[in-house]
Amino acid sequence: AQSVTQLDSQVPVFEEAPVELRCNYSSSVSVYLFWYVQYPNQGLQLLLKYLSGSTLVESINGFEAEFNKSQTSFHLRKPSVHISDTAEYFCAVSARAITDKLIFGTGTRLQVFP
């Protein structure tokens, strides 16, 4: 079975500051890793994913995440945040099997202040 831990329930940060949202996972099998974002009153949108290959993955809006197998982590970072990044961010894992369910963390609310 897999599990995901997001240690920070809320992360307040000022605009243009860097941010890191932490995610650790536990699994007895190899996994795929995901970050989903949920804007207020909206559904879940895939932000980025790690499937294989390069351990550093990037999104189109400046976020990046690095898979660290030894530390079982997949932290999300952005060097300079915007007000529009205010949202709930969920880390998720799935076993490397086609169509396996996603296991989500409890989420981190990123609040960007002007």
């Binding site: 795929y32 559904g43 879940l44 963390g105």
Partner: protein, 114 residues
């Protein structure tokens, strides 16, 4: 861009009533899921569905729940006798089923049980 749609966006019902939540997955996807998110909590897997049968279900998905794909486009979640604790946001997701498991989520249906 194709997307998963869900109706209604908000459903209010009395305890003990039956509700049906509807989803239209992306047209060429083959695997379908329901998740729920109780207010302030993490997103939880309910059930996965493939080839007209349940692939996996969580312990949450008890006999009060059922899923169906009544035609080639809709995917429904039925709660036979709603309880107060069923109040949550319900998300439908679908995936093509390739070597990696990118699930596309709908905007959700907020179910309120009074």
């Amino acid at each position: 861009e194709p997307e998963v749609t869900q109706t209604p966006s908000h459903q209010v019902t009395q305890m003990g009533q039956e509700v049906i939540l509807r989803c239209v997955p992306i047209s060429n996807h083959l695997y379908f899921y329901w998740y729920r998110q109780i207010l302030g909590q993490k997103v939880e897997f309910l059930v996965s569905f493939y080839n007209n049968e349940i692939s996996e279900k969580s312990e949450i998905f008890d006999d009060q729940f059922s899923v169906e794909r009544p035609d080639g486009s809709n995917f429904t979640l039925k709660i036979r006798s709603t309880k107060l604790e069923d109040s949550a946001m319900y998300f439908c997701a679908s995936t093509w089923g390739t070597a990696y498991n990118e699930q596309f989520f709908g905007p959700g249906t907020r179910l309120t049980v009074l």
